[in-house]
């Protein structure tokens, strides 16, 4: 039913759906969203300019702090970009350790998201169980790297810590348990009415729109598009490891949940395979201090989707230009499209569906003097 006139509803910067500030202006006709205007830039931190002020080694720690949840994805992308500038060959063992950490990070990020999705749908029991398991992954990562969140395991030219055989066994044992748990949670998600009613048919993103609006990561794959940087442009050792790119034809929030759950199982397999095939040898090579003029781009499949870093060197110890494109920026246009036609009550669910990470994304702030 249409009411003939629309009402503008401001949503944010502080809002109930997310812990991060972002502003959306919804135009609603009755209960239906007809127009969405996002405004980004609330957490612009000047990261790119800061990159130009520090040396390549120091910037590693800045890159790590772009995102709290995918800190390893950012340092992997950073090291990949800087190693491309030099260029520098990383020892195979280091490559595998980076990959294992990256997949552990995907596990913890996806279980965080599925937990939040369950919470947004009003299903807090599952949220608790998922986060309990996630905590064990965090403990594993802490044991390997020395910190829960900012792992600081990557360095230019390799990794800083090795994985011992006891740690490898512990990870493998936990992967079996985790996989069994995820399969059980999936059964719950597939049958639980509380969850299905909130997610099935909600937030439809058609495959055509997903491509034309440049969606990335699980959002894109949940619209049935087979696209994953790990498979399309293999970095680290993904070219040597067999794995499936998970897709789903549902195009809704439910599909995004299932894609993430299945990706967790896939990640557990990747970790087990990588641990069984861990090459011997050195874990790092020393990098040069200064880098000759060059340009380089790094692409990584972060838990939220494709992450791109770009760097330009000028012969000094500091980069001349550094650019970061976080996956949430890629997904923002698609989520605005998805929200059109949705009920107001579904807004948090749909927004959370892309697994947004706004502070990673804000690279610019627009100040309109006249407004």
């Amino acid at each position: 039913m249409s009411y003939g006139s629309t009402i503008k509803v401001p949503f944010g910067p502080q809002h109930p759906a997310l812990k991060e500030p972002e502003y959306f202006l919804f135009e609603v006709d009755g209960d239906i969203v007809v127009k969405v205007t996002p405004r980004i830039g609330y957490v612009h931190r000047g990261v790119e300019k800061a990159f130009e002020q520090e040396t390549y080694l120091h910037n590693l720690y800045l890159a790590e702090r772009i995102c709290g949840i995918c800190s390893h994805a950012h340092t992997t992308c950073y090291t990949q970009t800087v190693e491309g500038l030099i260029p520098l060959e990383v020892p195979p063992r280091a490559v595998y350790i980076r990959l294992i950490m990256a997949e552990l990070e995907r596990l913890h990020s996806h279980s965080l998201w599925v937990g939040i999705a369950a919470h947004e749908a009003g299903f807090d029991t599952l949220f608790m169980y998922l986060w309990r398991d996630r905590e064990m992954i965090m403990d594993l990562m802490e044991e390997i790297s020395g910190n829960r969140v900012t792992h600081a395991i990557n360095t230019i030219g390799g990794v800083r810590r090795d994985i011992t055989s006891e740690q490898a066994n512990k990870i493998k044992k936990f992967m079996d348990k985790f996989e069994a748990n995820v399969k059980e949670y999936m059964k719950v998600l597939e049958t639980e009415q509380t969850f299905l009613k909130r997610t099935k048919g909600v937030g439809i993103l058609k495959p055509r729109d997903a491509i034309s609006l440049c969606a990335v990561g699980p959002t894109l794959r949940a619209s049935g598009i087979k696209s994953d940087v790990r498979a399309d442009d293999p970095y680290l050792a993904y070219g040597e490891i067999p794995f499936n790119v998970i897709t789903h034809d549902g195009c809704d929030v439910y599909a995004r949940t299932i894609v993430r759950c299945e990706e967790m199982i896939e990640s557990a397999n990747i970790i087990r395979y990588a641990l069984d095939h861990l090459p011997e040898g050195k874990i790092k090579v020393p990098p040069p201090r200064t880098i000759a003029p060059n340009e380089s781009v790094g692409r990584v499949e972060a838990p939220r989707g494709e992450l791109i870093h770009y760097a330009r060197s000028n012969g000094t110890a500091k980069p001349e230009r550094y650019k970061v494109r976080a996956p949430t920026l890629g997904n923002l246009a698609s989520v605005c499209q998805t929200l059109i036609g949705a009920h107001v009550a579904d807004i948090p669910m749909i927004l959370a569906g892309i697994d947004p990470c706004f502070s990673c994304m804000d690279r610019v702030v627009i100040i309109n003097k006249d407004a």
Binding site: E143, N147, A152
Partner: protein, 123 residues
């Protein structure tokens, strides 16, 4: 249904959470906590200051205060300083309970022993 099974299983297990701070937190052996300096070994070579990404280390090269000034409030516990030190004078401890209410108490001054002694003799 399977959630009931999980709930029943969890009843028999011990809680997944730890009652920190009433119980000690779980600290894995390799945790990167606060770095400490052994000034017997330090040769004031400035490498740790250069390696530190957050300028948490200030080396005072000479004078009665010669040594290392460490700013806990700036430290991000990355352990780059310990990796850079040629004399292994820096140890990364697993001490993570470092919060304080005042910034002034978060600066620690490690003095070179000889200077500390001569200064003690003077006063």
């Amino acid at each position: 249904m399977s959630l009931f099974r999980e709930a029943a299983r969890q009843i028999l297990r011990k809680p997944a959470t730890v009652k920190y701070p009433f119980e000690p937190g779980i600290v894995p052996p390799g945790l990167r906590g606060r770095p400490v300096w052994d000034m017997e070994k330090c040769i004031l070579c400035v490498l740790c200051q250069n390696a530190c990404p957050t300028a948490a280390i200030k080396m005072i090269p000479k004078g009665p205060d010669a040594g290392i000034e460490y700013h806990l409030d700036r430290c991000i516990f990355c352990a780059e300083c310990a990796d850079a030190c040629p004399r292994k004078a820096i140890t990364i401890t697993t001490n993570f309970e470092l919060a304080d209410t005042s910034r002034s108490t978060m600066v620690q001054h490690y003095k070179k022993p000889q200077q500390a002694q001569t200064q003690a003799a003077k006063t």
